[in-house]
Every structure is written in structure tokens, then in C-alpha cells.
């Protein structure tokens, strides 16, 4: 009686698949739902990126409504100060956001513009958006923009076409916003952001100077070399920033922002409960399947130790299998999303200005953790399961 489980592999494989298929279908639906729902994307993306983020965001102290910006003299003082810490800071990335009207022929639409520095922002932006036609911003051109597919479809324009941009001032009252400038630009590329109905333009930072008639920016992102430096550097910088009427935030603070706090708790609790439930159901169902086998083996003279040893081997094999299958299912679902032309990376632009990207690697890590948890729980359950020697 050397090995029961290994020769019994295919039989158990069949029963396992029978149990696991509905569970993996639920996973698949959840993954798809996660990819379509903006709220889930925001929370999920934030959850996955909080720990690894190594950036700090410097903003005007009272910039909640976006009406206050960082002016050029302040920016210069800040850059000078930050120059003292170039061993900690990988790069300094100013960002300017504003609203305007985009016009092509007789069709027009309002838009949200994001002024970026193509040379420094490229890595972040390319990981967060998917260029579906044309190219990314060329740093040598001074009259190129990227527009979202939603906006391109609305205006019936494609990459290479000309459009007119009208900038609006930053009046708190939307009704009172006035046109302050107009410029004609080329559409360099059309992108998908993963956020539906987002009429978004990505514009080179130097073009915003022209459009806004000033060099003011909304925020400055400091990308540090190490996430370990975030808290220490933030603390060191705060007194200086306060004098300039600026504030600094790390991603950790978004977790505590009122708009996210409740959704974090609810969504995290729901996902955790769901995972625990699925794990529990999988394990109890597979163990129940084995109950009859265990009784049969006891009846024909197997000792409880040899049964436990064989079942442990069996669960190790299938826990590894769970991890692999989970990874395959998640990878396949991401491929399906891609083939449906829905961007697998997630890009959000919310009032709290969370801009995060989730890549497939993160999902593999989550999958691996779930698989490992399954493996450990399986072993604990099998080991702690009391096998009554009566076997009847």
C-alpha cells in the first residue's frame, strides 16, 4: 500500500474540476467586473499600488477645487530646494491640469487636459494608457496632443488631424469660466484610458504655458529612488513647504481620504469574505469527496497515518494546481479583456487625483498568495481532520 493518491490522480482531478469550474467562473466574472467598474478599479488599483509607490505629490495647501496653482516663482524656489536632495529624488515632474473646449469643424466638446512632461512622464503614462492609433507625444514637436478614443469618436477625428483648443479660466463657478486662449494642434495619437466616457487630452507641459498664458502648475510629483525614503523625506520637506503655502502627500494619505475610506473598508471586506468563502467551499467540498474514500480505505485495513500522508500529498499537488490554474484563468481573462479592446491596465483620474496603473504582474502576485494560502489551509485541515477508526 505505497501510494493511493498518485495513482488516483486522474479520478480526483475530475472531481476537483467539477467543484472548481463554478468557482473559477465566478473569478472570471469578478475579474471582468473589476475591469469595467470604475469604482472597483480605483479601490483595487490603490490597494495594489500603495505599498510599492515611491512618489510624493506637492500641491497648493488649498487646492481642493483646483482653483489655486503653483506659480513660477514658487516653483523655482521649490526646484532649488529639491536640488539639494538629488541623491533621493529620481526626477521632479510638474503637472498642469485644466479644462477647455476642443473643436473640429462644427463639432465641439469640453475636455479635461493633463499637461505632462513627455520626457519624464512617458514611463508613467505609457504604463497607464494604451495608444490605439498614432504615436505617443514626440518631445521635438510643440503642437501635438493625445486624445482619448471617446473624444476622438465624438469629434470624428483620427491621429494626424488638426483640432482647435480653447482654454477656460479656473473660476470656481463653472458657469463663469471664460475662454482665455485658442491654439490649433495636431492629434499625435488616440489612446484608451480604461475609464469609460472620459474625454481626456494629454498635452505637453510647454504647450500648457502657451494655452494658460502662464507657467503655473497644479502639482509636482517627486519620484524617489526608494519607497523607504517616502515618509522620512516627506517629514523633512514639510516645514519648507508650509512657508510656501504648499502641502505634500504620499499615496498612503489617499487611503485615509474621506472619499475612499468607506469604499476601501467595504470593498476589502467583501473581497476578503468572498475569498474566504470560496476557499472554504473548495476545501470542504474536496474533503467531503474524500470522506467516502477514507472510510473505504479504513475498512480495507489502511491506517489513519498512511491515509493522512497520502491525502497531504494529494492536497499539495492540487494546491500547486490551484495556483497555476488561477494564474492561467486570470491571464486568460486579461487577454480576453485586451482582445475586446478594453485596456487591461487601469487608469483613473478622480477628484483626489489618484493615477494608478495595475499590471498583470500584480495579479499574478495576488494569485500566488491565494494559491499559497490554499495550500497551507489544505494541509492544516487535512492534518487536523479527525479520522474515526470505526470508519463506519
Amino acid at each position: 500500500m505505497k501510494s493511493f493518491s498518485l495513482t488516483n490522480f486522474l479520478r480526483f482531478f475530475g472531481s476537483y474540476l467539477f467543484i472548481s469550474i463554478p468557482i473559477f467562473l465566478v473569478s472570471l466574472v469578478l475579474t471582468l467586473f473589476l475591469s469595467w467598474s470604475d469604482s472597483f478599479k480605483e479601490v483595487y488599483a490603490t490597494l495594489l499600488n500603495l505599498d510599492s509607490d515611491s512618489s510624493l505629490h506637492i500641491k497648493p495647501a488649498n487646492s481642493r477645487d483646483g482653483s489655486v496653482t503653483i506659480d513660477e516663482p514658487t516653483l523655482m524656489k521649490l526646484k532649488e530646494k529639491l536640488g539639494e536632495s538629488d541623491n533621493i529624488i529620481r526626477n521632479v515632474v510638474p503637472r498642469a491640469n485644466f479644462y477647455g473646449i476642443i473643436k473640429s469643424g462644427s463639432v465641439d466638446s469640453t475636455f479635461t487636459a493633463k499637461g505632462i512632461d513627455p520626457s519624464k512622464d512617458r514611463e508613467f503614462i505609457t504604463s497607464s494608457i494604451n495608444i490605439v492609433s498614432g504615436e505617443f507625444l514626440d518631445t521635438r514637436k510643440r503642437d501635438s496632443i493625445l486624445i482619448s478614443t471617446e473624444l476622438a469618436n465624438k469629434l470624428k477625428v483620427k491621429s494626424g488631424d488638426r483640432v482647435d483648443l480653447y482654454t477656460l479660466n479656473r473660476d470656481k463657478n463653472k458657469e463663469k469660466r471664460q475662454e482665455i486662449n485658442k491654439i490649433t494642434v495636431f492629434v499625435d495619437g488616440v489612446f484608451q484610458s480604461g475609464v469609460e466616457r472620459r474625454e481626456l487630452i494629454i498635452i505637453p507641459l510647454y504647450l500648457t504655458d502657451t494655452l494658460l498664458k502662464n507657467s503655473n502648475v497644479d502639482e509636482i510629483i517627486l519620484n524617489l529612488y526608494s519607497s523607504n525614503d517616502v515618509d522620512r523625506f516627506k517629514e523633512a520637506l514639510t516645514p519648507f513647504l508650509e512657508k510656501l503655502n504648499l502641502k505634500v502627500e504620499s499615496r498612503e494619505e489617499y487611503r485615509h481620504s474621506e472619499s475612499l475610506k468607506s469604499s476601501f473598508i467595504i470593498v476589502s471586506a467583501l473581497i476578503s469574505l468572498l475569498l474566504i468563502f470560496l476557499l472554504y467551499r473548495t476545501l470542504t467540498a474536496t474533503l467531503d469527496k474524500r470522506d467516502n474514500d477514507i472510510k473505504t480505505l479504513i475498512h480495507y485495513g489502511w491506517s489513519s497515518n498512511s491515509i493522512l500522508s497520502e491525502l497531504s500529498k494529494e492536497f499539495i499537488i492540487f494546491s500547486i494546481f490551484i495556483t497555476l490554474l488561477n494564474s492561467v484563468v486570470l491571464f486568460a481573462s486579461m487577454e480576453i479583456i485586451s482582445s475586446l479592446n478594453i485596456v487591461p491596465t487601469l487608469f483613473t483620474n478622480y477628484p483626489v487625483e489618484i493615477e494608478l496603473a495595475v499590471n498583470i504582474q500584480d495579479i499574478f502576485i495576488v494569485s500566488g498568495v491565494v494559491g499559497l494560502a490554499t495550500l497551507l489551509t489544505s494541509l492544516i485541515l487535512v492534518r487536523s481532520r479527525k479520522i474515526d477508526l470505526s470508519g463506519e
Binding site: F4, N292, H299, Y300, L389, S390, E392
Partner: protein, 209 residues
């Protein structure tokens, strides 16, 4: 090989076994006749440790069997085959795989064993597809692997009288070539009349007479 002395077992309202004493030797043939509810199954279950008894001893190879010692019980069950009323199968597995997985028998051993018990045509069938008579023969085949003594609980509980006679005919032919002790219980004395038995007991009021 097995000596049962003064075995007593009671349920809430009555004692079903009131001091049962007998022994089983390798190669011997013993029958116990008793009506429904007389305690036949309780007796066999108690001997193999599936049910607890309140008093008495079971000697296994002249040593008192300590039922709290699981390794001793496991050894007992390996050497004493039990064909009970209950079914102990691996759901969905073929007959062949039962022998292969549970007992690690070689293919030739499996073929010979199933041929002797007229199961050759069912060898690669799932256990769920067997008739009652085939199922009984299959249970016999499983119980006989490595057994020095066979305990068979009332065949009439699952088979008709004629099927039981056919099954016992096959059983006795099967045992002719083997030095295996047999204890069979039945509710119908008629059933065993045509077969040679060393001893036939009647289980009445919890005792063997």
C-alpha cells in the same frame, strides 16, 4: 486465531449480546443463525472494532486485542476480511482500479481473482453498474485480499434466497483452494444446509447455542 469470550453489548433498551463465546480458526467453517435484530451484525462489527462492546475479550493470535491501539486494529482488519451489509467502494472507480489502488495487486493477480469470482467481464466497469449479485461477488473479492479469516454478514440482506445459494456455492468453491477461516451469519438456516460447516450456532437472546 480469534477467540471471543463472554462478549456483551447493549443498546439503550436491551442487551443484544449477552456473553457470546466462540473461536475461529484458519480453515474452519462456522455459521451463526439468528433472526433480524438478533445481534449478528453487532457481533461482527464488535469483533473488528467498528462498534464498541461493553464486556468480554477478543484474543487475536492468543493475545487480548487492545482496541484503543489503532495499529493492532489495522492489522486485524488486514488479516480478517469483512463482507458487511454496507458498501465500501471508491465512487466512480472501476473494479480493476479498486484492486490496483487499494491493494496494489499486480494485473495477473487481479485477472485471476476476478476470474475465480466470475467478474472478468466486469473488470473495467464502474462499480455502480454492477447488479446486486455481481456486487456481492465483488465485495467478496475485496474482502478476500490478504484475508486469513472471512466474516460474511447475512447474504440475504441484499440477495434473494436463490442468488444467495448461488453466491455461497461460488464462495465455497473459492475457499476450497484457500486455507481461510469462514464465519457466516444468516437469518435463514435453510440457506446453509447444503454446505459443509464445522459448527453451526444459533444466536438466541444474545447468546450462542
Amino acid at each position: 486465531m480469534l477467540e471471543i469470550s463472554n462478549l456483551k453489548k447493549g443498546f439503550s433498551d436491551r442487551n443484544v449480546l449477552n456473553g457470546v463465546t466462540f473461536d475461529l480458526r484458519i480453515g474452519s467453517r462456522t455459521a451463526i443463525v439468528g433472526g433480524v435484530g438478533s445481534g449478528k451484525t453487532a457481533l461482527l462489527d464488535s469483533i473488528l472494532g467498528y462498534q464498541k462492546f461493553t464486556n468480554g475479550t477478543v484474543l487475536f493470535e492468543n493475545k487480548k486485542l487492545p482496541y484503543e491501539n489503532s495499529s493492532k486494529v489495522v492489522e486485524l482488519r488486514r488479516r480478517v476480511g469483512y463482507l458487511s451489509e454496507k458498501n465500501h467502494f471508491l465512487k466512480g472507480a472501476t473494479l480493476y482500479n479498486h484492486f490496483k489502488w487499494i491493494f496494489k495487486l499486480q494485473e495477473s493477480q487481479i485477472v485471476d481473482l476476478t476470474a475465480e469470482l466470475e467478474l472478468s467481464t466486469n473488470l473495467y466497469s464502474r462499480v455502480e453498474s454492477l447488479s446486486e449479485a455481481e456486487l456481492w461477488r465483488f465485495k467478496l473479492a475485496l474482502a478476500s485480499v490478504g484475508a486469513e479469516i472471512l466474516l460474511i454478514d447475512d447474504p440475504l440482506s441484499s440477495l434473494s434466497f436463490n442468488e444467495s445459494v448461488e453466491a455461497l456455492t461460488l464462495l465455497f468453491r473459492f475457499l476450497e483452494q484457500r486455507r481461510v477461516g469462514l464465519l457466516i451469519t444468516t437469518s435463514e438456516e435453510e440457506l446453509i444446509k447444503g454446505f459443509y460447516m464445522d459448527r453451526v450456532y444459533r444466536l438466541t437472546d444474545g447468546v450462542l447455542v
